[in-house]
């Protein structure tokens, strides 16, 4: 059995000798959860239609403790959606948020979630969070990490009530779509 181990270690060294050809320190890892989530936020903007006039930049807002760090800006700000730029705005508690296209609500906002969502009543803001129970409490898109992958649940009822149109491409990829009020 020690021989089997030795054989394995030797072959590992063999792989090591070919290593400089493709070793790229720093990029040789899976993306972090929030790098992927940032990319999702951008995609949610791509696949949503707002009732408001289609002009100016898309505004992506973030409420509560920022889990993304610099990732969100670096992912989003180089991209254009339908020719329009995307900006990131970090909100404080009293900032107006009805101008946001997408509002990411950090899990830190959990205790105030119902009040936060109530303040958005009558506005066309797409709400996204990764806190547990976000969709059941009438959030629109909940990011869910399972099996080491990031998925999402969509609440079509809540989006429709806000006048938003989620594309069928988006709903097709959703893990679960909530549309309880459909006939």
């Amino acid at each position: 059995m020690t021989r089997a181990l030795a054989v394995l270690l030797l072959s590992a060294l063999g792989a090591g000798s070919a290593l400089p050809a493709f070793a790229q320190p720093g990029t040789g890892r899976s993306p972090s959860e929030y790098e992927v989530k940032a990319a999702y936020l951008l995609n949610f903007i791509r696949f949503t239609r707002w009732p408001r006039a289609a002009q100016g930049p898309f505004e992506m807002c973030l409420l509560g403790a920022d889990p993304f760090g610099p990732t969100l800006n670096s992912t989003v700000e180089a991209e254009r959606v339908g020719g329009r730029p995307v900006t990131v705005r970090r909100l404080s508690a009293q900032d107006d948020r009805t101008s946001c296209h997408l509002l990411y609500i950090s899990p830190s906002e959990e205790p105030r979630l119902l009040a936060t969502l109530a303040r958005l009543d009558g506005s066309d803001v797409l709400t996204v969070s990764d806190m547990p129970g976000f969709v059941p409490r009438n959030g629109m898109i909940q990011l869910v990490t399972e099996g080491g992958r990031v998925r999402f649940d969509a609440n079509l009822d809540a989006a429709v009530a806000a006048g938003l149109m989620l594309s069928s491409d988006l709903l097709r990829v959703a893990r679960n779509v909530r549309r309880a009020n459909q006939p």
Binding site: T2, A23, T27, G28, E33, A39, T145, E146, G148, R149
Partner: protein, 646 residues
Amino acid sequence: MPVAPAALARLSLEELAAIDVTSVSKQAEDVWHTPVAIAVITQEDIRRSGATSLPEVLRLAPGVEVSRIDAAHWTVGIRGFGDQFSKSLLVLIDGRNIYTPLFAGTYWPAYDTLLADVDRIEVIRGPGGTIWGGNAVTGVINIITRRARDTRGTLVQLSSGNLDHMLVSARYGGGNPDGFSYRVFAKGTKRGPFFHADGSDFDAWWMGQGGFRADWARGSQGTFSLSGEVSSGSHGQRVQVTTLTPPARVATDGELDAQGANLVALWDRPLQGGGGVRLQAFYDRTVWRATHFEETRNTVDLDATVQLAPIARHQFTIGAGARWSPGDFTPTVPALDFQPRSFTSRLVSAFVEDDIALVADRVLLVVGSKIEHNNYTGVELQPNARLLFTRGVQTVWGSVARAVRTPSRIEDALRSLTPAGPVPGVALPLFLEIAGNADIDVEQAVAFEAGYRQLFAGRVNVDLAVFHTEHDDLVSFARGPARLDGTPPARIIINAPHVNAVSGWSRGLEIAPAWQVNDAWRLSGSYALRRFNFTAAPISAEANAVRRYEGSSPRHVLRAQAQWTRGGVEADVAYRHVSALAFHGIDGYHAADARVGWRVAPGFDLSAALQNLFDPHHSEFPQTPAPVEVPRSLLVTMRWTLAPAQ
């Protein structure tokens, strides 16, 4: 699939959903809102545990008690009732029930899967009979592999160490953009024996396995899946074989050759207005050739489930199923037989469950029942009622549920002789005939459970569950008539039929906290406490019946682990304490495992896992004449992954 962060923004939703992330949060969050004691072992948990078999992975879940008998055999219990065949719990691999009606339970060494393609393992503690039917008494283990569209690309994994000599896994997955995906995989294992104080090495083993899965996603018509596997293996075992001539009982070292094949078809279709239909059919064949018997079994199982929400606030789940499982038993030693040798176990069942949102998103009531007919005991009802309160990041739930364990062929039709030792004044040798009993009834349990979950500050979560279960009609042995068997050499045989004779309660708690300290550190653990109190009715002639039920599982299991992740390097340490198995005379033990993983280059990972750091070897279960002990082990793993061409 490693992707530079800047490139992520250009990926489609489908591509994003298929990316493996270095996860900061923990488990499927649906679990949060389930009125059941449930834990989810994720793919990351599995990979970082260093475990190389399904029973070893199960140690990660709170409330599961796993002991190694030897290199190839385990006892697995949930909330007590630890047993080599895990007879009180139900195990499913992608919906395929692997509980055998031959001896009631799961024969762990015959089952394996490509662990790297397991999506998650859901471990439910407590009864699951309302949904899953018979034998889901103390728990349900649901092993779920990834969908084919999530396993596109190539994976090759090689491991070698002093205990698991060689583990080789390979998978290739592909498909087209129109919703068709497939994968094929193969796995081979060659594993060495444990430490034996008596110098033997009977428990080495090997296994080979191959399989496929194909999924067709057809929009509103739902998803159709077909998967299949074949496996073949041979593992050493030590069996106490009874001989009709002296010495009457011989510890015999031999092999069990296990062959398996299965095919599973699944159609999952969403319905307009929510809900869906799910149809599943599977065929499973096992051929086991052991030192003392051979059995060939073919199982066909059909299951249909419909989810409907016809009225506001109600979601109905209605299901029906049938299973047909003929088995042919052939004895290869004189003292073990079944009467009749060929028998078909049959089952039909139906269930209905209603999830009632008493207060939307706040209070959920679940009521339902299974009605099942089996051809050992007839009709059995397994109802449950569960209530869940959710408020923000707090969840409180409670439940009452009944579950039954269906008799197996052993309890129904066994004929097995065991030497009863010399009796003063009796010249002839004496044998006990452990016998099946056609009147045997189900073992029953009624469980009262409650649980509480809370997330603190988005970083700490705690899951607590308590239970009290009333058990009735647990199986023991009675003393039947004695007879003289005149076949030379003559002997006296005392009949000892299985009877339902033990009742009592089990109670306990499980607590599982987890703390995501920051993006590098994660600390988690669990503690489980058990108490048992059984009494045997006078009809039981088994001297140790009560001690056997009370002392076959540890009273305390404690587990703690720390995970550290940064820049492609992972480090894991885990500690566990398992208290004594009083009935088996096994002392409690402490064990620690450590693992380091390093992403050497995109698509190439290297890891080393060291298990049982504390002891050169320790004993977890008795074996005759000397216990087989779990040695310290080192395993080195190399893993290559190649994303599919875009």
